[in-house]
């Protein structure tokens, strides 16, 4: 049994009710889901497959979903789990990172001394191309994920904790580090665009 089936007491829906839930509560999130899938896999075809898998699972487990509750968080959680269980295992991942190691490093005190991004609001105004997208995509997937969930999708700590299966404290610290890292990447772009050592 998967995690998706364990949370709520099992519902009993008629076929018509299932279709209503699917059409009115699940499908409206398809664009956000596709974007999430794309930002995780960095490939449009893989994103499409991931979203398709997610919706098929959602339909299969529809009776574990309680009508009128948080469909978006439920779907994001299934997509994230599919990504970890199916996609990550299948993909080659030539430079696989030990995420716990990365997180332990970025949660250490050392990192605050190392990361002091020189970045000004003015320099962001010149980033009219793919700089921000490239900077986001360059983050390790766990850091990238919290930025997407919080800043693009507006999820709250509690929802993110459920989607990611991590404690709220970890959500907070991961978000903090992710923002620092994103600024560092943007700062590199800003410097390469001619902004030298901005005096923040």
């Amino acid at each position: 049994m998967t995690e998706e089936t364990q949370e709520a007491p099992r519902q009993h829906y008629t076929d018509k009710e299932k279709d209503d839930v699917f059409n009115n509560e699940f499908l409206p999130h398809i664009h956000s889901m596709y974007n999430f899938g794309y930002r995780l896999t960095l490939d449009r075809d893989d994103a499409k497959d991931l979203v398709q898998d997610t919706y098929l699972k959602a339909y299969r487990f529809i009776e574990s979903f309680q009508k009128g509750t948080n469909a978006k968080a439920w779907l994001f959680r299934i997509l994230k789990n599919s990504f970890i269980n199916d996609y990550r295992k299948k993909s080659k991942e030539p430079n696989k990172v030990d995420y716990q190691e990365v997180e332990a490093f970025y949660n250490s005190d050392e990192v605050d001394r190392q990361i002091t991004p020189d970045l000004r609001v003015e320099s962001l105004k010149d980033m009219i191309g793919d700089e921000i997208s490239n900077a986001l995509n360059a983050l390790d997937v766990d850091f990238r994920t919290v930025i997407i969930l919080c800043d693009l999708e507006g999820f709250k700590y509690e929802e993110m904790a459920k989607i990611l299966d991590i404690p709220i404290g970890t959500v907070r610290s991961r978000l903090h580090r992710a923002r620092q890292l994103l600024k560092e990447k943007l700062s590199d772009y800003a410097k390469s665009m001619g902004y030298k050592n901005a005096d923040v």
């Binding site: 699917f22 499908l27 398809i30 664009h31 889901m33 596709y34 974007n35 794309y38 930002r39 449009r44 499409k48 979203v51 398709q52 919706y55 098929l56 339909y59 299969r60 970045l119 000004r120 609001v121 962001l124 980033m127 793919d130 921000i132 997208s133 986001l136 930025i147 997407i148 919080c150 800043d151 693009l152 507006g154 709250k156 700590y157 907070r172 978000l175 903090h176 923002r179 994103l182 600024k183 943007l186 923040v200």
Partner: protein, 90 residues
């Protein structure tokens, strides 16, 4: 502007005074109450580092929203999903 007379709504049950960074993170993570938002707005009037960090982080968020929302899912995706479900049910 001094806020010494107002209790800080960011102060936790332990009574420990929150740092600027802690207050800013609550605001950025959209977890602040309206009372905390008001307090922070006034706090920024007298705290240039907080003001600058807030401006920068909000500009980054705006840029993310305008550049990283990726557009719509492919037009045929919904039909493909429906087709697969129908196939599984038959």
């Amino acid at each position: 502007m001094s806020q010494s007379s107002n209790p800080n709504p960011f102060t936790g049950p332990s009574g420990k005074k929150p740092t600027c960074m802690e207050m800013l993170q609550f605001i950025l993570d959209q977890e602040a109450t309206s009372e905390q938002k008001e307090y922070f707005k006034t706090h920024m009037d007298g705290c240039m580092p907080c003001f600058k960090s807030y401006e920068l982080d909000m500009s980054i968020r705006q840029l993310l929203k305008s550049k990283c929302c990726g557009g719509d899912a492919p037009a045929d995706l919904i039909e493909q999903i429906r087709g697969q479900i129908a196939q599984k049910l038959s």
